[in-house]
């Protein structure tokens, strides 16, 4: 246990307080509970050893996520579990949808459940396995933004990429997830499959 006279005072309050968040993040990175547990242990050990490099009062959670991801990437490099980025990013800004601002799920789903209430029918395991199937770069961005509420700037610093790349990864990751979950909902019969017909489409102002 870390005692109050520990020279690493503050570690308990500032770092250990985020163990649940680091564990959730590690679960999504690693994809299995065993690997996630190893990641959490290694993350906190490294964080403890380098606590003097942490600036008190800055965001400890982001700092821990950075360590956790670095450990994961190093381990993965050794084991070479390879993920592929679907499209080349090259740091270009992407509100960026390449002009495709219309969500394809919304278009496919036109007239069925356009507001997406079908998402509620999908079980947690299916949502999590869809997240786990994303390339690591997308998965990390989505988890840090949608679960942990980090800003684009914070995610960019953590992943060592420009903000434009963060936006791009979030955009692509979310779209990919929506597509997978939509197809699953159709397959399970939560929503009817769309039969293409005349007059279906979208008008823009």
């Amino acid at each position: 246990m870390v005692s109050p006279d520990d020279p690493k005072i503050g570690f308990q309050e500032e770092a250990l307080a985020h163990m649940d968040a680091v564990y959730r993040f590690a679960l999504r990175l690693a994809g299995s509970a065993d690997e996630a547990e190893d990641l959490v242990q290694e993350t906190f050990l490294r964080a403890y050893r380098s606590w003097d490099q942490y600036t008190t009062g800055t965001r400890a959670k982001s700092w821990l996520f950075t360590i956790c991801r670095n450990v994961f990437l190093r381990q993965r490099e050794r084991g070479r579990r390879h993920d592929e980025i679907v499209q080349e990013e090259s740091g270009r800004d992407l509100s960026e949808s390449g002009g495709n601002v219309i969500n394809p799920v919304w278009v496919s789903n036109l007239g069925r459940d356009p507001e997406g209430e079908f998402f509620d029918s999908i079980v947690d395991d299916q949502v999590l396995s869809a997240i786990d199937a994303l390339p690591e770069e997308y998965r990390t961005a989505v988890v840090l933004s949608d679960l942990e509420g980090l800003s684009y700037q914070e995610i960019g610093e953590l992943m060592e990429v420009p903000v434009g790349t963060v936006k791009s990864r979030l955009f692509r990751g979310r779209r990919q997830l929506q597509k997978v979950l939509y197809e699953y909902a159709v397959e399970m019969g939560y929503i009817e499959e769309r039969v293409p017909g005349r007059g279906e489409g979208e008008e823009e102002s």
Partner: protein, 99 residues
């Protein structure tokens, strides 16, 4: 469609002063709270008023809410928490002068 066409013809202002295309292109940044403060009110107003864009916002909200609820459950198992604390304690014992 006819109403929109007439509005355009007679100089009607699109909701929030921006076109659907522009609003939809900013939907993620809007939801992430990352829009420039000078842009946010127009986008917000557009989604409030435009009945064709609002379902897009609703779809994104449903999607994110589903992600969040699936992701936020796991908590650190007690045995892992204890193991981490033990590792840190033994680290401290091995190198009591560490800074």
């Amino acid at each position: 469609m006819i109403v929109h066409a007439l509005k355009r013809l007679f100089g009607g202002r699109p909701p929030g002063g921006i076109r659907c295309q522009e609003a939809l292109a900013r939907i993620n940044e809007f939801m992430d709270g990352e829009l420039d403060p000078s842009e946010a009110p127009s986008v917000e107003e557009h989604f409030k008023v435009c009945t064709r864009c609002y379902p897009h916002l609703k779809l994104e909200r449903e999607f994110r809410s589903r992600l969040q609820s699936a992701l936020q459950h796991p908590r650190v198992p007690d045995q892992l928490r204890n193991r981490v604390l033990q590792i840190l304690a033994s680290e401290r014992r091995e190198d009591p002068d560490a800074t």
